[in-house]
C-alpha cells in the first residue's frame, strides 16, 4: 500500500464517527451557544415570529433569578454528597468483597450488580413504595406511620440520594475490587505482618496504589451524579413541592420543553457544559497520569 493510502485508511474507518461527532457534537454545542443568545420560544419554532438577538439577555434573566442560583447550589451540593457517599460505600464493600469467601462474595456482587442493572425508573418506583407515607415498609419498621418523606426539601433529597447511591455504588465497588485484586498479595500480606490494621492498610496501601483508578472513578461519579435526572424527576414528581428539589438537568428540561423557553433552556445547557468541561479536563489529565497514551 502506498504511503498516502496508509494515512487515508484510518480516516475511512473513522469517517462515520467523525462525520457525526462533528454534527452531533460540534454542531449541537455551537447551536446551543447560538440559541442561548436569542429570544427563542414556541412562536419562533413554529415560524410565526422572527428570532431576535438578545445578546446575554437569557443569561441576565438566568443569573438574575434567585431560583437558578438555589438550584445550581443544590445541584452541586447534592452531586458532591452523592459522589462521596457512593465512593465510601463502594470502597468499603470492595474491601469486604476481597475478604469474603466464595459464596458470600458471589451473592453480594450479584445482588449489587442486579441493583445496578435495574432501570432507574423501576428502582425509583420501588424506593417510593418503601418510603410511602401510609403503606411503606420503612414507616412501619420505624413506627412513624403517615410520615411524609417527600415533604421537607432535605429529607426528600436524602431519600432520592439513597436511591441514586443504591444504583451507582455497584459500579464503583466492582472497579475498585478489580483494582484491589490487581495489587500483589505479597504487598498486603507484608503490611498485615507488620501489624497494619485493615483501616491503615486501606489508606496507606490501597489508596496510594490505586490513586489513578480512584481519580477516574471519582470523575466518572461526578459526571454521573451531576446529570441526575430520572430519580429526581420521577420520585419528586418533576422537582418536588414548588420545585424545591429541582436540579439543573430537570430545570433545563422543564424550562426548554415544559415552558418552550428554548433560548433560556439553552443558556442553562451552556452553564452545564462549562461545568462538565472543567471536569472533563481533569479526567483527561487523570488518564494521562495513568500512563495512557492519547
Amino acid at each position: 500500500m502506498t504511503q498516502a493510502g496508509r494515512t487515508r485508511t484510518p480516516w475511512l474507518y473513522l469517517l462515520p464517527t467523525v462525520a457525526v461527532l462533528a454534527p452531533l457534537f460540534g454542531y449541537p454545542i455551537y447551536m446551543l451557544g447560538l440559541l442561548s443568545v436569542f429570544d427563542y420560544r414556541q412562536a419562533q419554532v413554529s415560524g410565526g415570529e422572527p428570532t431576535t438577538f438578545i445578546g446575554f439577555g437569557n443569561y441576565a434573566t438566568l443569573f438574575g433569578d434567585p431560583r437558578f442560583w438555589s438550584i445550581l447550589g443544590q445541584t452541586v451540593v447534592f452531586a458532591a454528597v452523592l459522589v462521596i457517599v457512593t465512593l465510601a460505600v463502594g470502597a468499603a464493600l470492595a474491601v469486604v468483597l476481597t475478604r469474603a469467601g466464595h459464596w458470600p462474595r458471589l451473592l453480594l456482587s450479584l445482588a449489587a450488580m442486579a441493583a445496578w442493572a435495574a432501570p432507574a425508573m423501576t428502582g425509583s418506583t420501588v424506593w417510593m413504595f418503601l418510603f410511602d407515607a401510609d403503606l411503606g415498609l420503612v414507616n412501619q419498621v420505624l413506627g412513624i406511620d403517615g410520615f411524609n418523606w417527600f415533604y421537607d426539601r432535605w429529607v426528600t433529597f436524602g431519600v432520592v440520594g439513597a436511591t441514586v447511591v443504591w444504583h451507582s455504588f455497584p459500579l464503583v465497588m466492582v472497579m475498585l475490587f478489580a483494582g484491589i485484586q490487581a495489587i500483589p498479595v505479597s504487598v498486603r500480606e507484608a503490611a498485615a505482618l507488620d501489624g497494619a490494621s485493615e483501616w491503615q492498610s486501606f489508606w496507606r496501601i490501597i489508596v496510594p496504589m490505586l490513586r489513578p483508578l480512584i481519580t477516574i472513578v471519582v470523575i466518572q461519579s461526578i459526571i454521573w451524579d451531576f446529570k441526575i435526572f430520572t430519580q429526581i424527576y420521577v420520585m419528586t414528581n418533576g422537582g418536588g413541592i414548588a420545585g424545591q428539589n429541582s436540579v439543573l438537568n430537570v430545570y433545563a428540561y422543564q424550562t426548554a420543553f415544559g415552558s418552550s423557553e428554548y433560548g433560556l433552556g439553552s443558556a442553562i445547557g451552556v452553564v452545564m457544559t462549562l461545568i462538565l468541561l472543567v471536569v472533563t479536563l481533569f479526567y483527561i489529565r487523570a488518564l494521562h497520569r495513568t500512563g495512557e497514551k492519547l
Binding site: L14, G101, L110, A111, A117, P119, T122, L135, I223, T230
Partner: protein, 275 residues
Amino acid sequence: MTRRRGLMWIAQHALAIALALMFLGPVVLVALTALMTDEQALTSRLWPEQWNWANFGDVFARSELLTWTVNTFVYASLATLFMLVSSVPAAYALARFRFRGRKLAFLVVISAMMLPPQVVAVPIYLVWARLDLTDSLWPLILPMLFGDAFSIFLLRQFLITIPRDYTDAARVDGCSDVRILFTVILPMARPAIAAVALFSFFYCWNDYYGPLLYAGVDQEGWTLSLGLATFKAFHSVQWNLTMAATLLVTAPVIIVFLFAQRVFIEGVTLTGVKG
C-alpha cells in the same frame, strides 16, 4: 490465631450476607406486594393472604405493556446493532493507526462521552423536530449509526491491549486492513464487543429521558420506562399492580444480567483499569 481467623471469617461473611439481604429484601417485598389483592395492598400486612396471580394479567389488560415491551426491544436492539456497526471500526482506527488528528479525534470522543446528551438536548431536539421525526424513537436510534462515544472509548481501551505482533504477522502474510479487522481483531475483541453491546442494550432499555423527550403523547409509541411512570400515576394507590408492572419490567433485565454478568464485570473493569 485459627480461632480468631474463624471468627473473623464468620463476621465478614455475616456482613456480606447481611448486605446481600439488604438488596434482596426489597425484591422479595416487591414480589409479595405484586401478588396481593387490591384490598390487602391497602393494609400493612406483608404476607399475601390470597395469592392473586391475576394481577400480572391485569397489568397487561389495563395498559399497553405488551406494545411498550416491543417498542423498548426494537429501540434497544436497533440502537445496539447500529452502535456496533459504527463504533467498532472507529475504535479500531483510534487504537491501531497513527495519523494526523488522531489525538484530536480521541479527545473529541472523550469530551462527547463526558457531556450527557441532555445538555445539548435543545438544539438536537429542534433538528429532529424540523425533520418531523419527533413523536417517534428514531431520534434515539439513528444517531447510533454514527458511533457512540462511550462504546468507542471502551473498545479502544481493549483494542490497544492486543499486541501488535498479531496484526503485523497478518500484514506480512498479505492481509488487508479490513481483513485484519475481521479475521484477527474481531475474534480477539469478542469480550469487549459483548460488553459494549450489553452496556448499550441496557442503557437503551433503562433510558427514561430519551423516550420522555421524543416518544410523544401517544401511548402506542412509548417504552417501558415511560409507560411505567404513567402506570404508577394512574394507579397510585394500587401498589400491588404497580409492583406487578415493576416486576415485569425489571425481571428480564435482571435475568439477562445474571447470565451475562461476567461479560459486564469485564467491561466495567475495562473502563477504568487499563491492562
